[in-house]
Subunit: 214 residues, 2 copies
DNA sequence: TTTTCCCTCCCCCGCGCGGGGGAGAAAGTC
DNA sequence: GACTTTCTCCCCCGCGCGGGGGAGGGAAAA
């Protein structure tokens, strides 16, 4: 690396700011170029100074970290953003990651780990604190499905029910009579305890019985 | 750490197995206790030897890495699993992570990075290779919505359309006449280019216009 | 001020579909 | 052999809803 990493710190607590700056300045290859005490100041500073990475606290007066991060992402997408917030993993992490935030760490992080995170982020990777990673992966886990046992044929019909086709069209697609499909549909609704086709399809999607083709 | 980390390697290519074992054995604190050349052997070895962590290749004859990982997760959830596969990030990563796999690395990983991953996993964290992380986060990003501009009222009605309520019931909920809701519904279907209520709700869900409440 | 957008409400038509029944044939289970 | 499950097909009824019109009023933009 030719130049040192230029860092902007945004946090409303002076103690946190100063402490963080002190720790970071101990590290060779890092340079804390500015500090800001709320989102608005941070946004201005970032746009003016164009740091390599911004460490942002989530909860701040004036303009909070989320708003600032989203604004900065729109105006200066090349500036890396690492959210560095309290010990609680906020639900806003999902929106922030979806918006392309590169890092999310908690303040109880070890300095060495933070260094690693900063380097990872500056190198184009994404750094997630273990607790954050846990929460994100939690989202991928399947919620316990309400044990609906459909037969193979019924599953097949259910998938077709998620399409715009009428029962008559589905019937011709599957090579059986319309009444057959109607019977299957009735049984499916019965088994799933759903009042109609639309709700059945929605419930099936929620329980991952059928996939989101889109 | 009191004892060294006991590792089981499962890969159908002897070269990979031996190379990996050699690299890992250079590291103090690691112990490669066994090697297996397919999922079935790996599963047997894991259940018998109870290693701290299993490094598994995804693509193998007999029983592939996914099947083995899922089986092992059911029988011995305390054994950590790290998928260590080719340079391609397989789509199965979603299922594997949902099933609780702790690690997913690519074979082009640097030995030092792999060590870090192994230690992280054994310590109860989840390790994802940057490329894998990228792919996972990709999933959280909103796919570009097909520019459907609904009015506030229409959005409100659309959300109600995702419920089992009839238009008449929705009307009384919103305190307007049934015909009003029917008009909104017609306009919504028109704007969304959807043939009926069920498809409109599905499309809305896919495009994240409405949330999956379940 | 005229125009446009949005929300509101109304009518008619026809079909898709949910709910209720029944029934026969093949396959596997007891 | 008797029984259950699954898949197939049939009838009737009534309502929900999609598609086609039209209309009035208020608010905001042109």
């Amino acid at each position: 690396m030719v130049d040192s990493i230029r860092i902007l710190i945004v946090d409303d607590h002076a103690v946190v700011r100063k402490g963080l700056a002190m720790v970071l300045r101990l590290e060779p290859g890092l340079e804390v170029i500015e500090e800001a005490e709320n989102g608005r100041e941070g946004l201005d500073a970032a746009q003016k100074l164009k740091p390599d990475i911004v460490l942002v606290d989530l909860i701040m007066p004036e303009m909070d970290g989320q708003e600032m991060a989203l604004s900065l992402r729109r105006s200066n997408p090349e500036i890396k953003i690492m959210m560095l917030t309290g010990t609680e993993v906020d639900d806003r992490v999902y929106d922030l990651l979806a918006a392309g935030i590169e890092g999310y760490a908690l303040k109880n992080i070890e300095p060495a780990e933070l260094m690693r995170g900063i380097h990872a982020v500056v190198h184009g990777e994404t750094y997630l604190h273990p607790d954050v990673m846990k929460k994100v992966l939690e989202r991928m886990k399947p919620q316990p499905a309400p044990a609906v046992s459909l037969t193979q044929r019924e599953m097949e019909v259910l998938e077709w029910m998620a399409t715009p086709n009428t029962y008559k069209q589905i019937a011709s697609q599957l090579g059986v009579g319309e009444e057959t499909i109607r019977t299957h549909a009735k049984n499916i609704l019965e088994k799933m305890h759903q009042p109609n086709r639309a709700q059945a399809v929605l419930a099936a999607m929620k329980n991952k019985l059928i996939k989101m083709s889109g």
